[in-house]
Amino acid sequence: MSNRFHVATRKGLFTVSRTNGSWSISDPAFIGTPVPMVLHDPRDAAEYATVSHGHFGNKLHRRDADEDWREITTPAYPPKPDGVPAIIDPVRQKEIPWSLEMIWALEPDPRSDGALWCGTIPGGLFHSPDRGESWRLVEPLWNHVDRAKWMGGGYDYPGIHSICVDPRNADRVLLGVSCGGAWVTDDAGATWRQTAHGMRADYLPPEEALQPDTQDPHRIAQCPAQPDKLWAQHHNGIFKSTDSGTSWTEVEQAGPSTFGFAVAVHPDDGDTAWFVPGVKDETRVPVDGQLVVTRTTDGGQSFDVLRAGLPQQHAYDIVYRHALAVDATGQRLVMGTTTGNLFITDDAGDSWQTISHHLPPVYAVRFV
């Protein structure tokens, strides 16, 4: 099992390691500053952290082996060409900025050493060929006519939070967009198509509920060993795909609630996935003040409600979309919450252990 992971929080980045059977927190970095995303690249052991300064913008940092964190190039939108009309959020009637608002997703691109994908708010996807030293906006997606249908969700503007690179063919990449559905390329970004067919949005009028371009998947995760199987924790519930993200089916019952943000999928078994339910939708607290994890092992036909070791009274934790992770064994999971709790399990969620009760609000956890 993985004995090390990173915790990205509203007030800095931390490393958590297991030695002699106990967990300890170390290496605080960027203290006081929001760190929305962190990535450990197993190809060269480089670590990346996105830092979101309230006043001075977003920055990207990299730490190579045995070195300190160093600021590298932040993805930047190219100058907006003259004559290109502004895109207006179709619901809020507010102009979508042509400028980086936040880095929301970072993933390796297996096609070449050091290559990276980066998803952002307000909806641009970037690619780096050189470990984040330079970035290029993926213009076929940014310029796609249907981007005008995207809209803000929890954030003011739409954004890419999930980047699923197909392990069989790295030219195929699926993106989760909130709110813009699911987008797939089969040619490494040259062309894109919408694939959120089957997702349902009851925050829209009934006749618009199945419109794919306004779906709000909160998080999409793909099974590495069975990449045809993907799971989406959507604003409206849980959806699964068994055809590589081409279509989606709603899972209508999943324990106390189907609302939530995070999803993790077993690395070998695409029928096993974990969720952290909450009360839909503005309330966003655990049902009855009891923090639980729900787990299916049969493709969504049934769910276990896992609560051993988790607070069962007056718990108001929410687990954000990137704050639940599973390691390569499928047995160890970690989750961090909005109230600074950090929990870990070594038995696929049957029982949980507390690592900390007093971290800053957790944005992301990732195993090394």
């Binding site: 300064h53 309230g54 006043h55 001075f56 913008g57 920055k59 600021e71 932040t74 930047a76 939108y77 100058p79 907006k80 042509w98 400028s99 980086l100």
Partner: protein, 89 residues
């Protein structure tokens, strides 16, 4: 020559010592500074070259008005301060 300085809070993120520079506008002044310290640029301006929304430029104590094109004039011997706004914290 105008004297350009930055909020102390920025010094903790990137080296940005005071400098005296010749410029007619805020844009010219900042560009002259960034010519020698390119790493400071993205802390002050967004990727489209506009002033970050939670950053303020004061010219002799008066906030610059043009946050997009940075066309406010910089008088000779002006004191120009790049500060963080009260918003955005």
């Amino acid at each position: 020559m105008a004297r350009l300085s930055f909020t102390a809070n920025l010094h903790s993120h990137v080296a940005c010592p005071d400098r005296e520079l010749s410029a007619r506008t805020v844009r010219e002044l900042l560009n002259a500074y960034f010519d020698e310290a390119a790493e400071v640029r993205s802390y002050v301006l967004d990727d489209q070259g506009a002033l970050r929304k939670h950053v303020v430029v004061f010219i002799n104590g008066v906030a610059a008005r043009d946050r997009t094109h940075l066309s406010d004039e910089v008088p000779d011997d002006a004191t120009v301060c790049v500060m963080q706004a009260l918003s955005g914290g």
